[in-house]
Symmetry: C2
Subunit: 136 residues, 2 copies
Amino acid sequence: MGLPAYRIFTMNIPPKQLPMDRPPLDEPGFERDLARLAKALGHPARVRIVRFLLARDACMCGDIVEHLPLAQSTVSQHLKALKDSGLVQGTIAGPRVCYCVDRKVLERFRDLVGRLQPCLEADPDCRGLLDQQEEP
Amino acid sequence: MGLPAYRIFTMNIPPKQLPMDRPPLDEPGFERDLARLAKALGHPARVRIVRFLLARDACMCGDIVEHLPLAQSTVSQHLKALKDSGLVQGTIAGPRVCYCVDRKVLERFRDLVGRLQPCLEADPDCRGLLDQQEEP
DNA sequence: GGATCCTATCGTAGTTCTACGATGAGTGCA
DNA sequence: TGCACTCATCGTAGAACTACGATAGGATCC
């Protein structure tokens, strides 16, 4: 019964519905949120769109289409992916839609990435540990 | 001849081979690198693997398999994706392979995300700009 | 009301992702 | 040499991604 075990990693299902056959890590939403935001930025076109929006603070869909070598429908699809992730907001302004980056979400993404590396300066890398295993 | 226009965003082709029919942004590799690293972290299982590796500094594949509800082959596939992105390094240590996170790459990822938001504190959000377009 | 502009959505085709089991390659030990 | 262990790779099936053109919906303008 229930979902297969690998569904533990499905991003679209709330954590409480997931059959956690192993104890979750400290923050159950951490991995899902980070993965969701990272996935949204996991395409060069979407990175460019976000940069474009940040540079202009806000602009409409047509502006983005003009500056990308992609069809209008494809750009709209990328914008939908960005909106679904929360990174981008779209506000209807008359016949057009004004898009802008939700800087709080972007900051949260930055924060999540930062929390990934808790002790960057502590051990420079794992070389020493590897040498211990290889040489004796 | 040549590649279709949307191939401008293909991540696996060096920039010089790309038919840039529009001028590139300031840093040609920026978007590709950020997208590549973000894509690597765009799956909850890979985020967990990276966290797991960071918590232990380094460990072998079997340890990861034990702590994930995934088959060994699937974990190996995720590790390959992480290795291809550069985030993770694998070192052969006898019959096993010792994996660790390349903290320099992780830091570069964090830097790329940080450079995405050049002036976070400047304009809090784009609401003002939206109001300008909506109301007058 | 009708024309126009902007954007979202539909339908579709090809590619990529993601999961699994099975198998193979490599190392170390008896 | 043979066995055990570890991990990568192969083959495959289903889902998701990504591109496009075509079309529909909503707002504005004449």
